[in-house]
């Protein structure tokens, strides 16, 4: 149940769509993450145990402190378009919270709107995924999640599973993490995270996302 003594990572997924919650849950579980899904930003904050004193905005209702200590969340992945609190609003609240701001946040959206993507990345989102989210997207979460664990727990058992990473920036992941531990999160945004940001932007803008064709030998013939 997301207890920090286990080496499994815990992801909180936020989406108002029932189908998409089911999908993201399956994607994350396939990648061996523990998953909690909620259907709104408000519920996400409740789950995270948001406190009044953690917020710069005193209008945020404080919630029972019990959940805050026990549940460790290593990454939050949220839909952008949600009624009430949008994914962007949620992102901001998380970044404004002293207890939550170090949790990496990823935004998902069905709409490819470059200004939306930039805004989220500038606000501190690690990645921006276009929906429908796929396994190859979820594979990109790993380096962000690894940031939140102490070094000795970072051994990657999932390396055997097919990973579509193969990108140079992930080869020196440990170096990268050492760097990050010395710098504040908001400095990172302007430095080496730029390559991530740009990549997400580029992928977001590209009309031409390569998709495997269904008739390309994926099926096993009887």
């Amino acid at each position: 149940m997301g207890i920090s003594t286990e080496s499994q990572f815990h992801v909180l997924a936020v989406d108002d769509s029932l189908i998409d919650r089911k999908l993201i849950e399956r994607l994350l579980k396939t990648s061996s993450y523990q998953v909690t899904t909620v259907d709104s930003g408000t519920k996400a904050l409740e789950f995270l145990g948001v406190h009044e004193d953690d917020q710069s905005n005193p209008d945020i209702p404080s919630v029972s402190p019990n959940t805050h200590q026990e549940v460790e969340v290593n990454l939050i992945i949220t839909d952008y378009c949600m009624p009430g609190m949008t994914g962007y609003d949620l992102l901001r609240k998380i970044k404004e919270s002293s207890s939550l701001r170090n949790i990496p946040v990823v935004i998902m959206s069905s709409e490819n709107v470059p200004s939306r993507i930039s805004r989220c990345l500038e606000e501190g989102a690690e990645e921006f995924f276009l929906k429908p989210v796929r396994l190859s997207d979820v594979n990109r979460l790993r380096p962000h999640i690894m940031k939140t664990k102490p070094k000795d727990q970072q051994e990657d058992k999932q390396e055997n599973k097919e990973e579509e990473l193969g990108k140079p920036e992930f080869q020196s992941r440990e170096e990268k993490e050492e760097q990050q531990q010395q710098q504040q999160h908001h400095h990172l945004q302007h430095q080496h995270s730029n390559s991530n940001k740009r990549k997400a932007l580029e992928e977001g803008l590209s009309p031409d996302r390569t998709r495997p064709r269904y008739n390309n030998g994926l099926t096993t013939v009887v």
């Binding site: 769509s17 029932l18 189908i19 998409d20 089911k22 999908l23 399956r26 994607l27 396939t30 378009c81 069905s110 929906k131 429908p132 796929r134 396994l135 097919e162 998709r211 495997p212 064709r213 269904y214 008739n215 994926l218 099926t219 096993t220 013939v221 009887v222």
Partner: protein, 152 residues
């Protein structure tokens, strides 16, 4: 012998969904998430989709009866519906959703209604076909070379 025939039949059925443009690659993504621990994942998602979206369809239907039409509201409903349809790979349904939203933005009520009728047709056709597909897949039982593509 018969079992192999059933599997072949199912395989061809599935292939026809793609050939006829009813389903797209996203459906394959769902299949790839299915495994021994979650052997009915695709059917579960599709069932959930039809259950969940029936409410949205009703909402749209009711909204289309209003006068004047609230295109913003209609567009919002359709945004939701399009999202779910995309998530299960319902290609034709998704295309109708896109068309509908275009008519919303153009403030074209007639266009919306026409498209919605077409959408409901496609939606129903797909439902029937997938129900049959899942049912027959169950009947045929597990197979080493089942129609579900393996992750390589």
């Amino acid at each position: 012998m018969e079992r192999n025939q059933m599997h072949k039949h199912i395989f061809l059925m599935r292939q026809s969904f793609f050939d006829q443009g009813l389903l797209d690659d996203q459906f394959i993504q769902l299949e790839e998430l299915q495994d021994d621990a979650n052997p009915n994942f695709v059917e579960e998602v599709v069932t959930l989709y039809y259950r969940d979206s029936s409410r949205t369809i009703l909402n749209i239907e009711q909204s289309l009866e209003k006068n004047p039409l609230d295109f913003n509201k209609l567009d919002n409903y359709m945004h939701q519906f399009k999202g779910s349809s995309t998530s299960i790979g319902a290609k034709k349904v998704k295309a109708e959703c896109t068309q509908f939203r275009e008519y919303c933005r153009a403030g074209n009520g007639e266009g919306c209604m026409r498209t919605f009728q077409q959408l409901k047709k496609e939606y129903a056709i797909l439902k029937k076909k997938l129900e049959t597909y899942f049912q027959q897949t169950r009947q045929a039982g597990p197979s080493e070379t089942a129609c579900r593509p393996r992750m390589n």
